[in-house]
């Protein structure tokens, strides 16, 4: 069919020589996008927790705080600048430099550049394990004391309960990578099992296979819904395998379910929020900014967003708070150029900014 059209296209395409793509430029641009998205994720956790001035303690002369935000009564905002842990207005010298950390209801769990995993509670630092220093990944449930990681040799999923003071190892399949431990929520873990992604009840050890099988990249777990990412994008489904939200954006990485799993925001360069149940995209006006990514839910219907005029390193990163489904946003802070934020800053997302 349409043989001549096919022939024409082949001849036309074959007649042109193309320069090889610039691999270094692509990798640099790709890494930059990933860093920005992760930076956004970290900023979101700060905003959801805080209710205090967000960026003032690490403002440079070029930076300015705009206004505080966040729900009152929430946990204090936290971030690490070098060796200093900031919790709202309070600062603590950790006496070491973490490269990744997460927050739980009991304190913080941090990993250093050598892969040592530390528990930090009320000023006390305790060595609690080790993980692969080349691929630091920590997960936590901020509403309980649970934090987790993959052991350095990859043989165990390790779950610490900071409130109970327990550490439990669970056998991991051969070849388990740090990224195979995806999430913790309400006494359950979401990780790669022998035959694919599973949600495991940490008490009964009952496993619920997650649709998608091997070849998927595990995402979020919230309120009995899981996010699974594959070649076609992210799908949201119930634990019994019923698809709730079909993939709609294959260029997004993962993203974040709102606390009641009503909304999902993709971790992408363009702010995208979907109503999980209806599948409808919710329009959010970010004021024409060229880069915007939702990074955390401050509450149901309130989304923290990292934005900038462009995604370039020199662009000034801003924090917005957007109301969903109203779609309105307000600027909360200007953080400064992206490239000034990635050196010593560590945010509670469980991975290094440059990881």
């Amino acid at each position: 069919m349409t043989e001549k059209l096919q022939t024409l296209m082949r001849e036309q395409a074959d007649a042109v020589d193309f320069a090889a793509p610039d691999l270094d430029t692509m990798i640099a641009a790709g890494d930059r996008r990933v860093r920005h998205r992760r930076l956004g994720a970290a900023g979101g956790i700060a905003a959801v927790a805080a209710g205090v001035v967000l960026v003032a303690p690490f403002l440079t002369s070029d930076q300015r705080a705009v206004e505080p935000t966040g729900p009152t009564g929430a946990a204090p905002i936290s971030w690490v600048d070098g060796t200093t842990l900031h919790e709202g207005a309070r600062t603590t010298d950790l006496e070491f430099r973490p490269r990744a950390y997460v927050r739980t209801a009991g304190g913080y769990v941090l990993a250093d550049g050598k892969g040592a995993v530390w528990s930090w509670q009320d000023g006390d630092r305790t060595l609690v394990g080790s993980t692969d220093a080349r691929d630091l990944r920590l997960v936590s449930d901020e509403e309980s004391g649970l934090a987790g990681w993959v052991s350095r040799d990859g043989s165990e999923y390790v779950v610490m309960d900071q409130l109970a003071g327990t550490i439990t190892g669970y056998d991991a399949p051969a070849g388990t990578q740090p990224g195979d431990f995806a999430a913790l929520d309400a006494g359950r873990a979401y990780w790669s099992g022998e035959n694919g992604p599973v949600v495991v009840d940490l008490e009964s050890l009952a496993e619920t296979p997650v649709h998608g099988g091997r070849g998927t990249y595990l995402g979020d777990l919230e309120d009995d819904l899981v996010a699974v990412s594959g070649d076609q994008g992210v799908v949201i489904e119930t634990l019994d395998g019923t698809t709730v939200l079909e993939p709609t954006n294959s260029y997004a990485d993962l993203g974040y379910l709102s606390p009641d799993a009503h909304y999902y925001t993709w971790d992408a360069d363009e702010l995208q929020v979907y109503d999980v149940r209806s599948g409808e995209r919710v329009s959010v006006d970010v004021g024409g900014r060229g880069f915007a990514t939702g990074f955390d839910w401050l509450g149901t219907g309130t989304l923290a967003v990292l934005a900038a005029a462009d995604a370039d390193d020199s662009s000034v990163a801003e924090l917005l708070v957007c109301e969903v489904p109203a779609g309105s946003c307000r600027q909360v802070a200007e953080l400064g150029p992206f490239d000034s934020l990635t050196d010593s800053l560590v945010l509670p997302v469980g991975i290094p900014i440059d990881g």
């Binding site: 349409t2 001549k4 193309f18």
Partner: protein, 179 residues
């Protein structure tokens, strides 16, 4: 080798092996070498970002092709490049009387005059030889939309080329669209 290093090595190998084919596809969609190269660069950057979750790297090419397709359509839409000037070729019969224009040139020009989405559908179906389902996946639309886009594109090509030229270049049976 770390996971990240391994992924970069795999990605580099993929780019080395498949970038030429992706460039050709992109070129057919946009009709300009420079724009095709920009398009492939952008699509491969998206593919690199997605690489950690593309554990089955056999799917990487489909992912990159989809990125090329949707990015091209997005660029055309955003920059109003979707419809190229058609004043030179409005009348298909007139095309046939331009001595300096070869048969191939007519068809190429007519192809480039198609709206971006229709052109992409034609390239994916008849150059990449994708099934309707695969084309729908790359375009991010339903199979029925692919059928209608391809049908409209072929009709438009025939119309643009005029009866004499199209009878030879695009026989009528070519316009039959699989239900």
């Amino acid at each position: 080798m770390t996971t990240k290093e391994r992924q970069r090595a795999e990605f580099a190998e993929f780019v080395s092996a498949r970038s030429a084919a992706l460039h050709r596809c992109a070129y057919l969609m946009v009709g300009e070498v420079g724009m095709a190269q920009d398009l492939v660069q952008e699509a491969l950057t998206k593919t690199y970002v997605a690489w950690p979750r593309l554990r089955d790297t056999a799917n990487a090419e489909a992912y990159a092709r989809k990125a090329i397709t949707t990015t091209a359509i997005s660029w055309f839409r955003r920059k109003s490049w979707g419809e190229r000037p058609t004043d030179r070729h409005e009348d298909g019969h007139r095309l046939g009387h331009e001595d300096h224009v070869t048969e191939r040139d007519w068809l190429w020009a007519a192809l480039l005059e198609l709206p971006a989405r229709q052109r992409a559908a034609v390239v994916l179906r008849y150059y990449e030889d994708l099934s309707e389902a695969q084309t729908a996946e790359a375009l991010g639309c339903a199979v029925g939309t692919v059928k209608s886009q391809v049908s409209a594109a072929l009709s438009k090509l025939r119309e643009r080329l005029g009866e004499d030229a199209s009878a030879d270049l695009l026989p009528l049976h070519d316009l039959v669209v699989t239900p």
